[in-house]
Structure formats: structure tokens, C-alpha cells
């Protein structure tokens, strides 16, 4: 028998960036064996057993040969089971049991897919970045698991061939079978289908909190809620993705990429059209929050990119975890460095934190009796460090809603109505900051605050009186200005007036009551 060589194409992922992988298969005479080289990890190395079984089960095994599989470039690490399919195709070609027709050249078609022993093709992670990379590399045809087809369908100008078992692929390549390519789904269609878990119309009462969330969403401000257990903090937070402006296509791509590589996309789903809402439990480690692990995986802050990171029970998070949030909050990006790997992930999110006012939860509640000593309350509040608190513009108190209010039928405003006001305010900001690299008020530095947040003499006087009578710090002063700017934008006014300042001051009330 002659020695035979075959090549197929696939893609790998490093961080959120895809890169082309050429799968080269060489079948030589000698002792029967199969070896994979080119820095494969364990899941790639185990591929040979899956591939062998799958090929036998679709009836394409040939004579035993000595097979070497090289994944080029040889100096990049290859991870995950998505190379099963290109390896299987390459092996069948090399041993002479598969003869693709000319116009379906496996060397110009990208393959992704995990094989099961019976030849079924399973969905894989990271399809979106790989497909984007395929497009950048001029690849037109992509064969991938049917469950991943929608995810890839948002990219224009590609022929996506969804497949569900190995026999289908061989028949397709040999021209014996036609497969209808996945139709491209325009982004707008996806957006129309978007559903939010909580609509603001479902929230009863909480007029002050609703307004605060609207202001926070309009200016991209981080927000903290303090309130007794059961006052609806979590529900309020969950409503925020629904009032933020819709994701743009670019934002959707960025966010979906990150979710795709961490395997968080629900199977069969396409591009993410709603802003992500991440709510890690308070036992979360530093690595799970900001990213890490030996393979430098993205953390919750990156999964919340362009969306909301909700930290419930803020003081219960470990100090280290909270401190690690400071860089992503400041820069909107995290660099995860590990011995074997470095990666940068975007992480510009809106932080919403919630906490009880004291360890037992009922400090200041008229309905239940708080059992904590002043000492315990102080310790509890002190777990939230000043620097973190510094990055939170809006502080509000949330009280539980009386039962009469819950049963009342008075309809509340829906998320859509609020979202339209928020979008309008965001437009004003984008226009104002078009010469800078900002897009919302929350990002202003203290110099820029002076430039963009000019006050009338009367408003200035009110603010000074407030700072004086409420013993506010300089940092509170700057936050008030930023939030007042957003309130003025919501009202569609160019200048910050007294009422805007007065409202903004209410969002610092916790400074007075708790962190004095």
C-alpha cells in the first residue's frame, strides 16, 4: 500500500480570538497506531479513540495503518474536542475510504465538532470566535454541529453546513447528499425575539428604587442597594438588563464570544441579544470572578461584559474577591496571566450590589427587631472597602413593600417605556462625548466633570449647602455631579438645574446613615 497524506482545516481559540489549525494526517506502512502531535491537550489526544470508533461505526474503516496527525501551527496549544470531526475526515481520506468531490475540498472547508463513539456529532464551545476567524481567513464553507448552527448564523457571507452524524459528512463531501445551509439570521430578527426575565411592570411599589435604577441605567452608573431581606433587591436588579439600551451588533458579538468560549451559551442558541446578567454566589473565588485557572478562562466580570454584574450579599464576598474587582471596574478590561497562558478579556459591566444593613438583616426595620450590636454592624459594613465604595455612584435604600401595595392592581410602568427614556439619555451622552473615548457619564474623570458638569450659581449654592449640612466628602461631591448630569440628560436638559442636584443628593443618603 502507498503512503498517503491528507489535510483538513479547523480552528482553535486562544482567549476570545480564533486561529486557523491545519489538520495534517499521514498514513504510513508499519505497526498500526494513531498518534496526535502539535501540542494537543488531553481531550484532543483522546480524540483518536473517539475517531476510531466513529469511523468504524459509519463503516469506513480501512486496513490498519500507522497514522500520524499533526495539528499545525505546532507551537499553539490545542484544546477541546472540536478537532474530532476534522481529524476523522482527514483520517478517512488518508486511509483511502473517503474521496471528496473537487468542489467540496476539506482543505478549504472548516470543520468543528465532537464525535461520540457511534458517530453522532456533538456541539462544541467557542464556535463564534472560530467562525469569525474563519471569515477573516477567507474560508467560505463551514461544517459544524447542528446545535451550533444558530450561533454561527449571525455572520454574513458564509455557508454554514449543519450536520448531526459522521455519515452525513462523508456523504456530503462525496457529493452523495445535499445539506441545506443554515439560513443567515439578521441581528434585528434575533432582537425582536428577545425576552427579559423580569419586566419592571411586575415590580410593585419601590418608586424610589425604580427611579434610581433608571438613572443608573441612563448614565451607566454602578449602584448599591441596602435593604432588609425580602425587600425585592434581587428582583429590582434583574430588571436592569431590560431597561438598558439594546445591544448593538458589535457588543453582541463581543459578549457572545466570551460566553461561547466558556461554554455558557445554551445549546441551540444564537447570538446573545439581551444584555447578560451575572449573579455569582458570594462564595465566589477571585479566579471565578475575574478569570483564571491554568487555561486562563474568563471570569464573571467578563461574562457580564456589556451587561450587569449583580453581587448579592456584598459584604459576604471575600475581601480579595472584592478588591480584584477594582481593575475591571476602572479599565473595563482584565488581563489574566497564568504560567502557560495569558489572555485579555473585556469586562465593561454595570455593577449592581445588594446588601443587608446588618448581619441579621433587620437594622432600621420597623417590622422586625434587629439583634445586632453596633459593633457587629460596623464590622459588617467595614467589609465593603472604601475604594470599592468609591466606584459606586448611586446608593439607595430599599424597604419591603407593604402587603396592601403588593396586592394593589395599579399598573406600573413597563421596562419598554423606561428603556426608551434611557436610550434617549444615552444618545445625548454619546453626542456630547463623541470627541472623547467615553460613552456615558459614569466614565467621566474628575477633570472632565468640571468641563461637562457646569452648574448654575443657584445649583452650586444648593450643592455647597448640602455638602456642608450633610457632612459630605469631596468624593461624594464628584459623584453627585456625575449623577446630576445623568438626571439632566434624562430630562433632556442641557444645563444642570437645582432640581437635578437635589435629586442626585438623595442617592448619597447611605453615606450619611451608614458609612459615616
Amino acid at each position: 500500500m502507498n503512503e498517503m497524506m491528507a489535510k483538513t482545516l479547523s480552528f482553535g481559540v486562544n482567549g476570545v480570538i480564533g486561529f486557523p489549525v491545519h489538520v495534517e494526517v499521514f498514513a504510513a506502512n508499519g505497526l498500526p497506531m494513531m498518534e496526535i502531535i502539535g501540542l494537543p491537550d488531553t481531550s484532543v489526544r483522546e480524540s483518536r479513540d473517539r475517531v476510531n470508533a466513529a469511523i468504524i461505526n459509519c463503516g469506513r474503516q480501512g486496513d490498519p495503518r500507522r497514522i500520524t496527525i499533526n495539528l499545525a501551527p505546532a507551537d499553539m496549544k490545542k484544546e477541546g474536542p472540536s478537532f474530532d470531526l476534522p481529524i476523522a475526515v482527514g483520517v478517512m481520506m488518508a486511509i483511502g475510504t473517503l474521496h471528496p468531490v473537487r468542489e467540496r475540498d476539506p482543505e478549504k472547508t472548516a470543520f468543528f465538532g465532537e464525535l461520540s463513539l457511534d458517530g453522532m456529532i456533538q456541539p462544541v464551545n467557542g464556535v463564534l470566535p472560530m467562525v469569525i476567524s474563519a471569515k477573516e481567513n477567507g474560508v467560505k464553507d463551514i461544517v459544524l454541529p447542528a446545535e451550533n448552527a444558530r450561533e454561527a448564523a449571525c455572520i454574513e457571507g458564509l455557508r454554514i453546513i449543519p450536520v448531526s452524524y459522521l455519515g452525513e459528512v462523508t456523504d456530503y463531501l462525496e457529493g452523495k447528499k445535499e445539506i441545506v445551509p443554515q439560513e443567515q439570521i439578521p441581528y434585528e430578527t434575533l432582537q425582536r425575539e428577545s425576552i427579559f426575565p423580569v419586566d419592571m411592570a411586575q415590580i410593585k411599589g419601590q418608586a424610589a428604587a425604580r427611579r434610581a435604577l433608571e438613572v443608573a441605567a441612563a448614565g451607566g452608573h454602578n449602584l448599591i442597594m441596602i435593604g432588609v431581606p425580602g425587600s425585592g433587591k434581587t428582583m429590582l436588579a434583574r430588571s436592569v438588563p431590560g431597561i438598558l439600551p439594546p445591544l448593538t451588533f458589535e457588543e453582541a458579538l463581543e459578549t457572545t464570544r466570551i460566553h461561547s468560549i466558556s461554554g455558557r451559551l445554551p445549546s441551540g442558541s444564537g447570538l446573545m441579544v439581551t444584555r447578560p446578567f451575572c449573579a455569582p454566589h458570594h462564595s465566589a473565588s477571585v479566579a471565578s470572578l475575574v478569570g483564571g485557572g491554568s487555561d486562563a478562562k474568563p471570569g464573571e466580570v467578563s461574562l457580564a461584559h456589556n451587561g450587569v454584574l449583580f453581587l448579592d450579599e456584598l459584604p459576604e464576598f471575600s475581601r480579595n474577591a472584592l478588591e480584584a474587582l477594582r481593575q475591571p471596574l476602572e479599565d473595563g478590561i482584565v488581563s489574566v496571566s497564568r504560567v502557560k497562558r495569558q489572555a485579555q478579556y473585556q469586562s465593561s459591566f454595570m455593577l449592581i450590589a445588594a446588601m443587608n444593613p446588618c448581619p441579621c438583616g433587620y437594622y432600621g426595620s420597623s417590622r422586625r427587631h434587629c439583634r445586632c450590636t453596633p459593633q457587629e454592624i460596623r464590622h459588617y459594613l467595614d467589609r465593603v472597602s472604601g475604594p470599592l465604595l468609591d466606584r459606586i455612584d448611586i446608593q439607595i435604600e430599599v424597604d419591603s413593600v407593604p402587603i396592601e401595595e403588593i396586592n394593589s392592581q395599579s399598573p406600573a410602568e413597563s421596562s419598554a417605556v423606561v428603556a426608551s427614556r434611557v436610550s434617549a439619555a444615552r444618545m445625548i451622552q454619546q453626542e456630547r462625548y463623541k470627541d472623547t473615548n467615553h460613552f456615558c457619564n459614569a466614565q467621566l474623570s474628575s477633570n472632565e466633570i468640571r468641563r461637562f458638569c457646569e452648574l448654575s450659581t443657584e445649583a452650586q449654592r444648593l450643592l455647597h449647602m448640602a455638602v456642608d449640612s450633610m457632612h459630605m466628602s469631596m468624593r461624594a461631591y464628584n459623584r453627585i455631579l456625575k449623577v446630576a448630569r445623568t438626571i439632566a440628560d434624562l430630562a433632556g436638559e442641557e444645563h444642570i438645574a437645582t432640581v437635578h442636584i437635589a435629586e442626585a443628593i438623595q442617592y448619597r443618603e447611605l453615606d450619611q446613615k451608614y458609612w459615616r
Binding site: 419601590q206 424610589a208 420597623s366 424597604d399 413593600v401 449647602m465 437635578h500 442636584i501 438623595q506 446613615k513
Partner: protein, 370 residues
Amino acid sequence: MCSDSEIAYLAWLASSKVPAEILKRLLISFRTGESIYKAVKSDNQQILEFVPVSVLNALRNSANPDLICRMDHLVLQYAIHAMTMHDPRFPTILQEITDPVSILFYQGSPECLSRRAISMVGSRRASYSGLKAAHQIAQDLSMEGIAIVSGFAYGIDTASHQGCLEGRSPTIAVMGCGLDQNYPAGNEGLRKQVIDSGGILLSEYAPGEKPLPGHFPYRNRIIAALGEAVILVEAKIRSGSLRTVDHALEQGKEVFVYPGDPTSPFFEGNHQLLRDGGHYFSKALDILEDMNWLDKNQSEVQNSGCSISTDGMSPEEEKILRLLIPGELSFDQLAAQSAVSPSDLLSILTILQIRGAVEPLPGKKYQIKQ
């Protein structure tokens, strides 16, 4: 004033738990701690006239130079002073109560003990409104030159001391442990303030004595004794504060009871006491009036200043203020009753707050500032 070594002897005496009446008799006849120590050491037969054998044995066992040396050390380290009833500044009332006090350890200025004083008591884990009230009452009384006596614990005690300091009168803190003990742990700053502002920290317990639970109800008799009247700010139905009230009644003192919210469990004890004949009051002025501490013209001036001034307010600000007259309201209730939009309501509340007309309460509630 006692010398340091005498303070150490008194500390030994206080730490050896001699019953109060016996201690009083001992100090009357021997005058100083040192002479009692020597009498015990030398088996002076005269001492048996005052002391039963069991007590004498206890005294003998504890009378050793090591203990005196240790006490001397503590006294110096923590700048603790002491006085006995022979000291002219010693409050004589403490000799007249059941379980009379004969030795007082102190830090600060004993001169303030001669001032007109009122005792304030209340719960450690107090409600927000109780704390506010305690602070305000103490401050108002303090501004009239009245010293506030309290127990230096968390909650109402701390609020009363702080209010008194803000009104610029010295405050008197009666501790339930040795003065070297940092108790309660969060009140270190207050301790310094009390001393710096001419107030005093008192204890009948020797240095080194731990804050044991039994000490507190016992020292309450001193709190009751040192004030000319006792104010109960906040007490649940079974509360140590009510024990102080019992002491006060036993000593023939006036007891003023802050009314508080009748629906709140925090004030159950108050209302019980009001039913039992406690003096009702709502502000410091009422107390001054009932105690006859008021000059005539002062009362007239004060009486006219009770209504809420709405000068220079916009109609909407006035509307919100009027809604708050019956009592505290939550933000949602205010929004519903006034039909003002949340954003406008927030800004109106800020302005009212800055004007000093309204104050925020925990739980997103507001009330008229008293």
C-alpha cells in the same frame, strides 16, 4: 485625693467583696484602706467588732503584698483615682441608699458630681427613633447646664452621653466593671471625649474586675441615685432599664417616661410604666417645667416656638411637610399621597433636609425633624 498606694489598698478592699454595709462601717472607723489592711494583717482584735469571721477570713486570704502591688500597677497605668465617703466631693446620696457605696473609682473630673444631674436609661439594642430621642433630650438638657448620668453601654446610654457632650455639659458614666477594662469595646473614643470634656467615668468595682452580667443591674442603683430624676427612653417589657426605674422609685426619685410609638415592641416597657403612673413628657422642656428648673420668662419663649415654620417654602415643599405632620412616612407612601413624581419628590426631600425641616430614617422613611 488619695495617694496612689491608698488607691491600691482601696482597690484590694473593693475586690474582696465585703458586703456594702460592713464596708461602710469599716471605713467609718478605720478611715483609710491602708489602716484596714494593717488591721487585717496584724490580727487586730478591734476589727472583729465590725466583721463576721467569714468575711475576715476572706480579707485575710486576699491581703497580700502581691495583690496590692498589682493594683498599684493598674492604678498607675490607667490613671485611676479613688475617693471614699470621707472625701468632700463624694456624693452623699450614695451613702443613703440600700447597699450604700463607700468607695468610688474614677477617671476624669469629680467636680462635675456637684452639678444638677438627670439619669437616662434605656435599651442597649435600641430602635433608631429611640436613639434619636435620647440624643436630642440629652442635648437639650445639657444645653440647660444639666449633666446626664448614664451607664456607658451601647444604645440609649451611648446616645445619651453623646447628646450631653454636644450640649456642652459634662456627662457622668457609671460603669459595671473595673475602669481598666475596655468595655464596651466600641466606646473607646467616647471614653476619651467624656474625660476631655470635664466629665467623669465612675465605678464601684476595683480595677481588674470583669464586666460580669450581675454587675450591671447592681450598678443601676448608682445611676438612679446620681440623678435628681430618671428618664426612661426606651425599654421592652422585661428590661434592665426597668430595674433602674425600680431603684429610682425606691429612692423617691421622679421617673419620666418617653412615650415612643405605642405600636412598636421597642417601647412596650415605656407604655407599661406610663400606665403605672410614670411622668409623661415629650421634650426636654417638659422635664424642666415639672422639675421647677425653669425661669418664668423662659417658659413663655419656648411655648411659642412649637409650630412648624413654612416661611419661604414652595407650595410643593409645604405640601410634603404637611403630609409628614402626623408622623413618619415611607418614600412610597409620600409619593402615593402627594402624587408628586418620584424624581421631583426626591429633590423636594433634599431641599427640606437641607433646610433642616425633615430628616431621613433608615428604611427609606422620612419624618419632621424635632
